[in-house]
């Protein structure tokens, strides 16, 4: 086969997988909604628990929203490969001869569309609840748009490693949270800097660097992890 034919068949496989995963996510709507509702509940609990002091809420808003986003992502991560592993679809991917890296990437993209994108879209509402200053709202959305794909990408490696364990979900959170810490620090620092009227582009630059690094490396690591889990 020529190089063009190969890349053509790979992109066909990629989009076939993406389309099917989105259809599956739509069929399992309740599973899809749960992390989003969880996110909304966690953020709405803070004003109730801390008291509705506008200044205090505005101060802790970036941290609260980002921590809630981390938790919601970790809840949804297990769905990334588990059903494919349990019903034998993963074996079918291997046999198809398509590179597992490409398959992992398609699964990660669909995971982000289903679990990460809603967080980005809901963030203006969350910011309103937490009284986040209007000037830093744009930066908040930007950090989430850049950061949530990194969460899906890094998480995919953890899922790949823990998928063959019965209670892998619990181990998964221990495995990925330490890796999420730098993203949490950088993203909240960016939003806080914007709130204080300080320059924040350096933090966004770091997030972009993190995104590029994880897009190029995580699918390979996830594919390797899946291969280990299959044997």
């Amino acid at each position: 086969m020529s190089a063009e034919a190969v890349s053509g068949s790979l992109s066909k496989a990629f989009f076939a997988l993406l389309r099917r995963d989105l259809l599956l996510a739509f069929r399992r709507r309740t599973e899809l909604l749960f992390p989003v509702i969880f996110l909304l509940v966690v953020v709405s609990l803070f004003p109730l628990g801390i008291g509705p002091g506008p200044q205090l809420l505005a101060r802790i808003a970036p941290g609260v929203i980002w921590i809630a986003a981390l938790l919601a992502t970790v809840i949804s991560l297990d769905a990334l490969f588990r059903s494919d592993f349990e019903d034998g679809t993963l074996e079918q991917y291997v046999i198809s001869g398509h590179p597992l890296t490409l398959i992992a990437l398609a699964k990660i993209v669909s995971h982000w569309l289903v679990a990460g994108l809603p967080i980005v879209l809901l963030s203006p509402l969350l910011a309103l609840w937490m009284n986040l200053p209007y000037e830093s709202l744009g930066v908040m959305i930007l950090t989430l748009a850049l950061g949530t794909p990194i969460l899906s990408l890094i998480g995919s490696i953890g899922v790949g490693l823990t998928i063959s364990l019965k209670r892998g979900g619990q181990l998964l959170s221990l495995l990925v949270f330490p890796l999420y810490v730098p993203i949490l620090i950088i993203a909240t620092a960016a939003v806080m800097a914007a709130s204080d009227g300080l320059p924040y582009t350096q933090f966004l630059g770091l997030l972009i660097a993190g995104l590029i690094t994880s897009v190029t490396l995580a699918p390979f690591a996830a594919a390797a992890a899946l291969k280990i889990s299959l044997s």
């Binding site: 053509g8 068949s9 066909k12 496989a13 076939a16 997988l17 389309r19 099917r20 259809l23 599956l24 069929r27 399992r28 059903s83 349990e86 019903d87 034998g88 679809t89 074996e91 079918q92 291997v94 046999i95 198809s96 001869g97 398509h98 299959l230 044997s231």
Partner: protein
Amino acid sequence: MLVASQIVFERYFEPVFLPVDFQLNSGELLLVTGANGCGKTTLIRVLAGVLHPTSGTIENQFEGMAYVGHYLGIKDDLSVLENLRFIRDFLGLSSRSCKDVVEQVGLTRVAEQQARTLSAGQRKRCALARLLVSESRLWLLDEPYSNLDIEGVELVDAILHGHLVSGGACVLATHGAHRPDWENTRDFHLVSGAAA
């Protein structure tokens, strides 16, 4: 042609089965028989490339490989047709009509139903339909007769025979309750590694 030479697969440093040697030409069926737990499934998974042999080599010159194992690889939330269309698009074979294949395996009546509503036998038929959709030359079947009614068993034999006649090849693992008996069938008796 599929050539397996001296395949050994070790689990926890113990060989699962004694070294495997065979050669499979197009049009031939290799029946892998043996007692429960002798490693039939493991051997099929090694041939499929899901597991890597500890030593030995597998040389596969067939174009395309399809596998039906104990986990059928069917999505419960998709209908029979959606499942088949996915595998067709995933493999980039847009020419193939999935409706014809559904008819061939006798699932026309439930083609639009979600796979979760199907019986075990119907699910198996759905997985077998994948073999036909994939147009692969080498089929690896792990206990394809389980869960099927008499009609289903005959169906497997019919599509398998058609596949062999058209120049395909198949490795079929079975514990031996039913076995196809054609002249191009060869037996391979697998012996557990614990026997050594």
